[in-house]
């Protein structure tokens, strides 16, 4: 089993004709993802990597029964791409694009509140249910089917962690890059709720970073409600305050949102924290 995506995922690629869109369509197809449609307004009728392209989501969904979409369009068109997907009845929208103004996410959150539709991202590398489906840009070859769930605010760091988990001989159930922006559609806790019910997930690794208090809230949640073992890794220990470290969400405000604070709360709530990616994988291996 797995969460969010699996063999029943019928993926639609928004912005399929762009450089990234077409490249990753190929990569996802190679991984075995069922990519059923692409959309680029004005390019309807084309094919990209054998996938039919439509002018609109509503047409594409009607004709292909796509249930999940991944967004590769430039930031300034991304909010509108999210609304289009939600309106077309897509159940899971994965927004890879980064650079959306935060206020757009406030609006999107309000808009999606009453729709049966989940957003992952923006600024997410996507997600992988090992051996079943890959949506986004994570490199498929580092995954191995297994029992560790991974939730991460970052992209390449996730690959690093996943790679270590695989190298120590374990595998992943589902790995989700929730995105590095201050406001994101799906947060750590949302994923944990799903992992709680997933029989194949026996442990979860949380990859957090400086900024905000999502990790702290998550730790409290883990302590109170989550029964499976949880491991943590927090980056930005050497980051100076008030500086945005790449991700829009990775800023220490005054003295709050530091790595030290997050690591402290993790530990207090029973989450085992590794000092390096390699160490995290080791900790998981020792437990399972």
């Amino acid at each position: 089993m797995s969460i969010l995506i699996n063999n029943n995922t019928r993926l639609l690629v928004q912005g399929i004709t762009g450089r990234d869109g077409s490249f990753h369509t190929r990569q996802m197809l190679d991984y075995g993802t069922n990519v059923v449609a692409g959309v680029t307004p004005g390019k309807g009728g084309m094919e990209v990597e054998g996938v039919p392209v439509f002018n609109s989501l509503s047409e594409a969904v009607k004709k292909t029964e796509a249930n999940t979409s991944v967004i590769f369009v430039p930031a300034r068109f991304s909010s509108s791409a999210i609304y289009e997907a939600a309106d077309a009845g897509i159940k899971l929208i994965v927004c890879i694009s980064e650079g959306l103004p935060t206020i757009e996410l406030v609006k999107i959150t309000a808009y999606l509140k009453n729709k049966d539709c989940r957003l992952v991202g923006p600024n997410s590398p996507g997600l992988v249910s090992a051996g079943e489906s890959k949506v986004g840009i994570l490199p498929g070859h580092i995954f191995k089917k297994g029992k560790v769930g991974v939730i991460s605010r970052s992209g390449t760091l996730t690959y690093e962690i996943v790679d270590h988990i695989t190298r120590v001989g374990l595998g992943q159930s589902t790995c989700i890059g929730i995105g590095g922006d201050p406001i994101i559609g799906t947060k750590f806790i949302d994923c944990l709720e799903l992992f709680a019910d997933d029989k194949d997930t026996e442990a979860v690794v949380l990859v957090g970073e400086i900024g905000g208090r999502d990790e702290q809230d998550t730790a409290e949640y883990v302590k109170k409600y989550f029964k499976k073992p949880v491991f943590g890794f927090i980056v930005g220990k050497t980051a100076p305050p008030e500086k945005r470290m790449g991700h829009a969400g990775a800023v220490i405000s005054g003295t709050s949102g530091t790595a030290a604070e997050k690591i402290k709360v993790f530990k207090e709530c029973g989450i085992k924290v590794g000092d390096t990616p390699a160490e995290v994988a080791q900790l998981v291996k020792e437990m399972l």
């Binding site: 760091l157 690959y159 829009a248």
Partner: protein, 377 residues
């Protein structure tokens, strides 16, 4: 993006939020003229730097006569606050303060809503209060469909002030602050302190506005307020090339793809006893040219003794990075040793390219970090 207090106050004025009579000055003469001719003495001289704690650092002074005006102007314009030289001061009307409050607005990460925060204690850092007595902060959330409705503004006003007249004056300021925040894609708009003066009028004594970098593309007028002097030149240069760079104080230059991995790399260097020279995220879909640009910026920091590439290719193709390194090495005449750890998409091709060029490469980031530290000696 941050702006100075005097710039934030200009925006306040545009939105009708009351501010003291003020003038920004760049040198002592300007200060003396402003104080005597326009603002009046006594007046307040305030260092314009974009860091907190100006007051404690001696960057805000009340000048009671012309001599003090000159003395303080000289002193403040010559000082550094948290390492940043003061190049501008604001000469401000001296207000007799009856009471101080806090009013601020942000997009809250937890509730995913825009939230207005009010506190009866002004002049204190809101993060400090949030930690020490969160119950003192009154929060009112906006609904994006209808904005910050009049009754919510009145609610804030009535929380801060007992007199209805003052409460509604505050409500009007609150509404303007909200409009400014939304219309300008702000990430923080703060009046701290919001004061009541002797005549009973509300005045924004200090002003702070941060802007959402992701929203700047639709506000060229805000972008043009950027004080390039007060920002790190290399960070600016990096941004213009779609790179993300932050200078640190160490000597191991890090070139990484992805912000999370870049932070992890810095932390790892430190973990193994080294000192990272920087945060540098070259982002996804990197072309060889981008790698060259990144190195160019990195090498402006003369402290850098070793360069550590840590790339985990997803969108980024490792061969692009390898080619970029070779090209840069040629063009920029790089003397520092380079340790490259390139893994993921097209890593085999990358490995071959590096091998042919005789560069040092490692399998894991642990090895890479250790190797980089080793090469320092």
């Amino acid at each position: 993006m941050k702006v100075h207090e005097y710039q934030a106050k200009e925006i306040f004025k545009k939105y009708g939020i009351p501010t003291p009579k003020e003038k920004m000055c760049r040198n002592i003469d300007e200060v003396v003229i402003a104080a005597s001719k326009e603002i009046g003495i006594p007046c307040v001289i305030k260092a314009q730097v974009m860091v907190g704690g100006r007051g404690k650092a001696g960057g805000i002074k009340v000048a009671k006569n012309e001599k003090e005006v000159k003395d303080y102007a000289e002193k403040i314009l010559g000082m550094e606050i948290k390492g940043i030289p003061v190049k501008k001061v604001l000469v401000s009307e001296a207000i007799s303060i009856v009471s101080e409050a806090y009013l601020g607005i942000i997009n809250d990460r937890t509730t995913k809503k825009t939230v207005m925060m009010a506190c009866k204690e002004g002049g204190v850092e809101i993060e400090v209060i949030a930690k020490q007595k969160p119950e003192a902060i009154y929060k009112v959330y906006a609904d994006p469909l209808v904005g910050f409705m009049p009754h919510k503004s009145r609610e804030i006003g009535l929380f801060l002030y007992n007199e209805p007249k003052r409460a509604f004056e505050c409500a009007s300021i609150t509404e303007k602050l909200y409009n400014l925040f939304i219309e300008l894609d702000s990430s923080l708009a703060e009046i701290n302190p919001l004061v009541v003066d002797k005549s009973g009028k509300l005045i924004a004594l200090d002003a702070k506005i941060n802007f959402d970098d992701n929203g700047l593309y639709r506000h060229p007028d805000i972008e043009s307020m950027r004080d390039r002097e007060s920002e790190d030149e290399n960070e600016l240069l990096a941004r213009e090339q779609n790179l993300s760079y932050v200078k640190l104080s160490g000597n191991i230059g890090c070139v990484v793809n992805g912000a999370g991995l870049a932070m992890a790399t810095m932390d790892l260097v430190k973990h193994f006893g080294g000192e990272p020279a920087n945060f540098l995220d070259i982002g996804g879909s990197s072309s060889p040219g981008k790698v060259k640009n990144a190195l160019e910026i990195l090498l402006k920091d003369k402290n850098v003794k070793v360069i550590f590439f840590n790339i985990f290719g997803g969108i980024t193709r490792c061969d692009d990075v390898a080619n970029g390194i070779l090209e840069a090495k040629k063009c920029l005449n790089i003397k520092q040793p380079i340790v490259a750890r390139l893994t993921g998409t097209n890593e085999d091709k990358a490995m071959e390219i590096l091998k042919e060029a005789g560069l040092i490469f490692t399998q894991t980031m642990d090895q890479g970090a250790k190797k980089a530290i080793e090469l320092l000696n």
